[in-house]
Subunit: 198 residues, 2 copies
């Protein structure tokens, strides 16, 4: 079994040292909009995919980032830790796993992500289409959800496979660039790192 990439170790330490802050699990995900312009929003870190450095994000399949990622599946995460003054800029390709996915393993990952999130989080996916004009003042009529029921149609799991990580520590003023390369077998990531000017 290969060891975790060095940036993942730094990230785990940052998560640990900022764990007292609820927002330490929030980061900003940039994508390219359908008009070619950049798009940027706060999302919640839902952990790494088991035994890998792939980053999981839950989202509503009716949100505009889904159309954007279907057209151009690349994103850059900007994750700033407000207590330790560390920034991780993580870019990579993003895989979309929604109800229509044909891969049974991926559907299982989606189900696992669904059950790993709180009932309150799950309820969001039963509401009105995000971003559309608000036509009703009434509260949600289906505000009860069977805790044992599987993912609803609007629930989508995003999985980012990082290609490059730009790490900046504003306390030590150090910056490191981690880049993934393929090994000779061509089937597993190998990471190189270089110290660059902050």
């Amino acid at each position: 079994m290969r060891s975790a990439p060095p940036w993942k170790q730094l990230l785990l330490v940052a998560l640990d040292s900022n764990a007292h802050l609820k927002h330490s699990h929030f980061f900003q995900l940039a994508t390219v909009g359908l008009n070619g312009k950049p798009s940027n929003r706060t999302v919640v870190f839902r952990g790494f995919q088991e035994g890998s450095e792939k980053i999981q994000i839950n989202t509503d399949s009716r949100s505009s980032k889904i159309d954007e990622l279907k057209a151009f599946p690349f994103g850059e995460i900007c994750w700033y830790f407000t207590d330790s003054w560390e920034q991780f800029r993580i870019n990579g390709k993003i895989d979309l796993i929604d109800a229509s996915n044909s891969d049974p393993v991926k559907l299982q990952q989606r189900e696992k992500a669904w059950f790993a999130s709180s009932l309150r989080s799950r309820l969001q996916y039963t509401g009105s289409t995000p971003g559309l004009p608000c036509i009703s003042e009434e509260p949600c009529k289906e505000c009860h959800l069977d805790p044992s029921a599987g993912p609803v149609g609007a629930f989508c799991l995003l999985v980012m496979d990082p290609d490059q990580v730009d790490y900046l520590n504003l306390k030590s003023n150090e910056r490191l660039m981690f880049t993934s390369t393929w090994n000779e077998e061509g089937d597993a990531n190998h990471w190189t790192s270089e110290r660059i000017n902050p």
Copy 2:
């Protein structure tokens, strides 16, 4: 004199209610990279341009966002307030004001931004080119800067002119979309707002 757009009023209140947090002045700026992929980094809010809703950011003219903005001058700011749970997604065109700018009024704005920043901030622009491999362990040799000296060559002022602002309040679960339109004279922004689903 026209009144401030409604989103600017919300933003000023958010800045005020989060003022005890140093990081409340930090936000994430997304641009489109030269390879077409999204790019995202934390930057510091340097205030509004006098009498307007234009947002100022200081940056190093040698950083890669400058080449990106020269090629495609659009950005989206994602500004999350960790205490009040408010998010502002602000998109618009970004004007670059570096030493080579031919407009004397803009050069004056750049000079004003230079003197408005701390000596410590100014010193950053005298260091090595950001993002290049770190070739020296030695500290900066020019770590003294005449406080009365004007902006160095690497200092660049970015000015974003907002087109659309997507406001989300996670405490009240309200979301508002503010869109700028041109008035009949075609020379001043008029803002419309709509309540949309969160």
